[in-house]
């Protein structure tokens, strides 16, 4: 196979001191999928942008980027423009921001043709071709999508339109930068299928950049792992995921939560160097459990793993000075792990009960009928796609006020009947941790003051405050010296620990967690999951309501799970029962869509997932595979009657029988061997 894109010793810097990419070699051959994985700041996106010459003008680029034999580094803008869109195209992360808001989607797709094709096609014929491209990617109602403005489409449809735009010029290379990260899992699966379609139709090679190991494992032929601006391990996907050799890759894979069971997660110590931080020797050495003195000074280069002879660029290569050391070991030998806590009997006292809640968000009804219950010393997860009503439900609970309709009981009290001073006292018993710690911590306050603030708000005695802050820092495994620092001086993981410490300061009885690990990298996330496991299973720990879209994280943390769809609770039960034997077709769809290590991507054409809000009957039937397979007379009940609300059960007229999961084969019959 011929090489279409070749990066040689690529260096990218922003300013004299700040090196973002420090010597990357990558080769992409015609028709193959190369996955580029790494955590934030590893230089993935910078590498991807360099492949199109799209870096901002302040970036300094050294080395070589050859596209079909043409050197792109130093190429005049005019010549670069001729190649972009026609020879190499890009799919960006956030399709809403990446489309121009004021032009129709079809025109934006057609524009690629109008730029590159000679004779230049007219507006009308370009628009027609855009519809054809959308049809090729199996976009439902391609005419409507082409006429729509970007904001009128769902995230998944927008991203498919973005892919149609990328393939419009029939490029030889498609670069996809985190193409699924801004989307729900169900849309994610469809985007991966659409990328596969696009590749099959054009024969283009795909450079797939992602932080999500599951996404890459399911889609890539070969994988390159980046760390601190370098490729540290590369090889065929099955070898790299099955038998990783670089200690970083091993730790990363073992730190990723799995969907099929709560399991021990490896915890790598420390954090990757901040972008631009000077690095000497092996960048991973400070965190490496098998580092030797020379690792701190000598630069490792990519060499064949296990001494096996390998053709350059094809075999399994590792950038490690001592690749033999890890040969007979697994991640569990290298890193401390945190095992899931032993299952506990749920308390019999209810900490939170939401009954038939109805709520609006910005004037639109977002929650129609939510039911959920959290008992003492129990963690309940609320899951569903964006727009399912999870956040609105959480917001209504933390408001401690009267709901529009329905009933919220917090710690035995109906929130609609709380007086002003009772609400204030209740705020000390209910605490919340939000997704993004950099937005929830005041950057000008010291950590000690941040943690002490809820104590002051609850009028705790002042002389005890300093001691309590020290205690809390120890509890969330932060250095006592952290107290005098400020949020911008901390890493993302450390900041989330501070947010946790602040929430725990007043010893709450109910802890609300809104996507607590979603903003964190896998290796950091594992540490927070371990901490949450410990904090929620200790005696006297608070009851927890965890809101998350990440089902693998939910599996690691929750005792019970509540699934919401379209503002209604559709299924709930113990996490093992719901995940292993899902009964509602929506739960099954959610679970089967999650790309996971060790399981091939679900095959089959993507379902049309644009859903019209059904006025009557079941809100899920437009997407429901069960409904589609029903005879007409049985469909009637789905169309006419709302399924009964679920309390530890399932709101479906035709739930799956309690046994196994026919939608997918488990354990994986083919594909990559499970990772351990």
């Amino acid at each position: 196979m011929s090489t279409v894109l070749e990066l040689r010793d690529l260096h990218v810097g922003f300013g004299p001191e700040h090196a973002a990419v420090r010597g990357v070699d990558l080769v992409l051959r015609r028709g193959e999928v190369l996955g580029l994985v790494g955590e934030s700041g590893a230089g993935k996106t910078v590498t991807a942008l360099a492949a199109l010459g799209l870096l901002p003008s302040r970036a300094t680029v050294r080395g070589s980027v050859r596209l079909l034999g043409t050197e792109l580094v130093g190429l005049p803008v005019r010549d670069l423009a001729r190649l972009r869109g026609r020879r190499i195209a890009m799919v960006f992360q956030d399709p809403l921001a990446a489309f121009t808001p004021v032009h129709r989607v079809g025109d934006q797709i057609g524009e690629v043709l109008r730029i590159h094709e000679r004779p230049r096609p007219g507006r009308r014929s370009a628009r027609q071709r855009a519809v054809e491209l959308l049809t090729e990617l199996r976009v439902p109602e391609p005419q409507r999508v082409a006429r729509a403005y970007p904001h009128e489409l769902s995230g998944g449809l927008r991203q498919r339109a973005m892919i149609a735009m990328a393939v419009a010029g029939r490029p030889d290379v498609i670069v996809a930068d985190e193409p699924t990260s801004a989307l729900d899992v169900t849309a994610q699966a469809e985007i991966l299928a659409a990328l596969e379609d696009a590749r099959a139709a054009t024969g283009a090679a795909l450079l797939l950049v992602s932080h999500d190991l599951g996404v890459v494992a399911g889609a890539a032929d070969r994988v390159a792992v980046m760390y601190a601006g370098r490729v540290v391990e590369t090889g065929p996907a099955h070898r790299l995921f099955g038998n990783p050799r670089m200690p970083y890759t091993m730790g990363l894979l073992a730190a990723a939560p799995r969907l099929d069971a709560a399991h021990a997660l490896s915890q790598m110590p420390g954090a990757p160097p901040a972008p631009g931080e000077p690095v000497e020797g092996c960048a991973f050495a400070p965190r490496c459990p098998v580092a030797r003195p020379e690792c701190e000074s000598d630069d490792p280069v990519l060499t064949p793993a296990d001494g096996a002879p390998a053709r350059a660029d094809d075999g399994h290569l590792v950038a490690c000075l001592h690749p033999g050391v890890t040969a007979a070991r697994t991640a569990a030998d290298l890193y401390p792990t945190s095992a899931p806590p032993a299952p506990r009997p749920p308390g019999d006292v209810t900490a939170l009960r939401v009954t038939a809640l109805r709520a609006s968000y910005r004037g639109r009804r977002a929650v129609h009928h939510a039911d959920l219950q959290v008992r003492r010393s129990e963690t309940v997860a609320l899951v569903g796609e964006s727009g399912a009503g999870k956040s609105t439900t959480l917001e209504r609970i933390i408001a401690l006020g009267a709901p529009e309709s329905g009933r919220i009981e917090v710690l035995g009290r109906d929130t609609a009947r709380l007086g002003r001073s009772e609400v204030r006292r209740m705020r000390g018993r209910v605490q919340i941790v939000l997704q993004d710690p950099s937005a929830t911590l005041d950057p000008r306050m010291t950590i000690a003051r941040i943690i002490a603030e809820p104590l002051e708000a609850q009028r705790a005695p002042r002389d005890r405050t300093a001691a309590r802050v020290r205690e809390l820092l120890a509890e969330v495994e932060l250095d006592p010296g952290t107290a005098g620092r400020r949020p911008p001086q901390l890493s993302g993981g450390q900041r989330q620990r501070v947010a946790l410490a602040r929430a725990l300061a007043v010893r709450p009885e109910l802890l609300l967690l809104d996507e607590p690990v979603s903003a964190l990298d896998v290796s950091v996330q594992a540490g927070i999951i371990a901490l949450l496991r410990r904090l929620t299973s200790a005696p006297g720990s608070p009851a927890c309501l965890l809101v998350s879209h990440d089902l693998a994280v939910v599996r690691q943390l929750a005792d019970r799970v509540v699934v919401m769809h379209g503002g209604r609770t559709v299924e709930s039960g113990p996490v093992d029962a719901v995940f292993d034997r899902p009964r509602h077709p929506y739960t099954r769809l959610l679970l089967s869509a999650v790309p996971t290590l060790g399981r091939p991507r679900p095959a089959g054409p993507p379902a049309a997932f644009e859903e019209a809000a059904a006025a009557t009957g079941c809100g899920f039937r437009a997407r429901c595979p069960v409904y589609r397979g029903l005879p007409a007379e049985q469909r009637l009940s789905c169309e006419r009657d709302l399924p009964a609300p679920a309390v530890d059960g399932v709101a479906c007229h035709f739930p799956h029988a309690d046994g196994g999961m026919p939608l997918r084969g488990r354990p994986a019959s083919k594909g990559h061997p499970p990772v351990q």
Binding site: V77, G85, A97, V102, E111
Partner: protein, 326 residues
């Protein structure tokens, strides 16, 4: 679309009525038309003054709201009353409105157009000489009062004419009296009169528009969709033109409706200094003479133009941004 426009227009009309009422009451309270008549030699008898005041509808013995009611009733029928000298306000308005509209139109178009261009240019050349020069110039213009600016421009024009040896730029009136000729020579004559007042009115607008447009463009240059446009194969200039300019104009529409007010104030000075018989100079003369009806007529004109500018800004926003259409 009509469903959204109708309430918007209704609101504007209500606002217009309130503004007219307030102008009438304030003008009646602040101005003293009686002084205008008493200030003659020999001083006329009080009865004669009362008679003259009543003739122009400014009889100060009737309560102000009653006078307003009377005026408003006739105004609704298309008659804005008498000037203090007994002439028709309508006739004055008819003579002067064209002069002002021309000045305001040219000022607005030049101000917004050149301001936007200057802003984009400064943003694209960020941190280089054109950007710094634009910054310094805008702040100079914004910090100098309009009338000083007008006088400076007049001085500049004088020396410019002097250098060339004959009068190219004219600085008095809106056309040369008794100018005869083909329509092209008429146009040239009018243009040579328009340059200075239009520049006085527009310069402030150009300065402030360019600042806002520069900021909007800088935001845009970092936007994801501009990068997408480059990834498709557009050159940076074309990407900015096709995918940037229109988006960056969206926040400018809000500014447009406010900016018009400043422009209007500027035009009052410009008309006075350059001897243009427009609404602005009428306002100043009328205020001195205590001519309530004329002052209210000018206020009515300014209220209508400001509200029209607001409606225009809304319409522009609808045209530019599909996200606000429903």
């Amino acid at each position: 679309m009509a469903g959204r426009a109708l309430p918007r227009i209704t609101r504007s009309i209500a606002l217009l009525l309130v503004s007219v009422l307030v102008s009438y009451v304030v003008a009646s309270a602040a101005l003293c038309p009686r002084a205008h008549f008493e200030d003659r030699t020999p001083r006329p008898p009080a009865a004669a003054v009362d008679h003259e005041l009543a003739a122009v509808g400014l009889d100060d013995s009737t309560p102000v709201l009653a006078r307003f009611g009377h005026w408003a009733w006739r105004a609704l029928h298309g008659d804005l009353g008498r000037t203090i000298d007994g002439g028709s306000v309508n006739a004055q308005l008819g003579e002067r409105i064209g002069v002002s509209v021309r000045l305001l139109l040219v000022g607005t178009l030049a101000g917004a157009g050149l301001g936007v261009l200057a802003g984009v240019w400064a943003a694209v050349r960020r941190g280089r000489l054109p950007d710094h020069a634009m910054t310094v110039l805008s702040f100079l213009v914004l910090s100098v009062p309009t009338f000083v600016l007008a006088l400076l421009l007049k001085d500049g024009a004088l020396s410019f004419n002097h250098c060339l040896g004959h009068t190219v730029i004219r600085y008095t009136g809106e056309s040369t009296p008794d100018h005869k000729g083909t329509w092209t020579s008429q146009l040239a004559d009018r243009s040579s009169h328009l340059v200075l007042p239009a520049a006085t009115v527009a310069l402030g607008s150009i300065a402030s528009y360019s600042r806002y447009q520069r900021a909007a463009t800088l935001d845009l240059l970092a936007a994801d969709h501009l990068r997408t446009a480059l990834a498709k194969g557009l050159t940076p200039g074309r990407a900015l033109l096709r995918h940037g300019l229109r988006v960056s104009l969206i926040p400018m529409t809000t500014f447009f409706s406010f900016g018009f007010l400043t422009l209007f104030t500027g035009s009052v000075f410009a008309e006075q200094i350059f001897g243009w018989p427009g609404m602005g100079s009428w306002f100043l003369e009328a205020a001195q003479e205590g001519d309530v009806n004329s002052v209210v007529a000018v206020c009515l004109f300014s209220a209508v133009t400001v509200l029209l500018a607001g409606l225009l800004a809304d319409a522009l926003l609808l045209v530019l941004d599909p996200r606000v259409r429903r």
